[in-house]
Symmetry: C2
DNA sequence: ACTTTACTACGAAACTATTCGTAGTACAGA
DNA sequence: TCTGTACTACGAATAGTTTCGTAGTAAAGT
């Protein structure tokens, strides 16, 4: 349910819904970066399939159905991250983080942001848990 | 060339090659976690396809050909990370890192490791120079 | 009422990934 | 040489994704 792995095309549509909230097919279609390359009915079909998969839910009260993401960005991101860690990083989330840090042109602003989260996590470690330093 | 996006099955095979170095088909097959579920010729076929895609190269001097990864783990990881950032994180690597940090049960050890990399990157920001100290 | 417009539903084609079976071949051992 | 083994090559079946065309329908305009 929450642990589905959307395909690329599905992800593209989910991104629109996450960003814009509930939309008609038309709105989704127009919001796609390459909407002139995709047929309208392609998007419709995709949304229908996603609906049966439980990735989106729809409100049929209007003539033009309203589609809405049924999975949150966070859930999906975590799943995909977990999958990637598994497949390409030999199971090590840490390795993924290190690689991501290296490969981006990070601004100081962003580095600071990460550092703050790091601090927060370290606190939680110290308060809550048994820590073993060997 | 460097920017191919391996499929799941391909990634599984690449992982073996990254870990073990050059291998025969047999060796790859046996190294797969679920090798009893995959046919030998399935792996062979996959390796042949990957060869035409440039993901692996092979040495045909032996009767049993030797396959070797033609892309590095790092390159591939970066590509896949970039792809994921694009698709699922609205282009923000930072958001990916934050999410990854949150979703893992991180040890203090690992947090420290990340912090060190962070320090190093901040230094580079400050003096603008590239210096590798390690 | 009739026509046009804006939608949905759905079948089917095109493509890709993954699977394995069968056929062919080099080589080792009898 | 003959036979069995261990390998490669490759076609073809299956399954999933993505595409869109065509048909049907409700609603709005005339």
């Amino acid at each position: 349910m929450t642990d589905r792995k959307p395909t690329d095309a599905e992800l593209e549509i989910l991104s629109v819904l996450w960003k814009s909230g509930p939309c008609t097919v038309k709105q989704v279609h127009q919001a796609l970066p390459d909407h002139h390359l995709r047929g309208y009915t392609t998007v419709l079909k995709l949304l229908q399939i996603m609906s049966t998969k439980g990735l989106v839910k729809r409100d049929e009260h209007q003539r033009a159905h309203i589609y809405e993401a049924a999975v949150t960005a966070e859930q999906t991101q975590r799943n995909m991250l977990a999958h990637l860690v598994d497949r390409a990083f030999a199971g090590s989330t840490n390795r993924l983080i290190m690689q991501a840090l290296k490969s981006q042109g990070t601004t100081e602003e962003e580095l600071k942001e990460i550092r703050q989260l790091l601090d927060k996590m370290e606190h939680e470690h110290n308060d809550g848990a048994t820590h073993n330093h060997d």
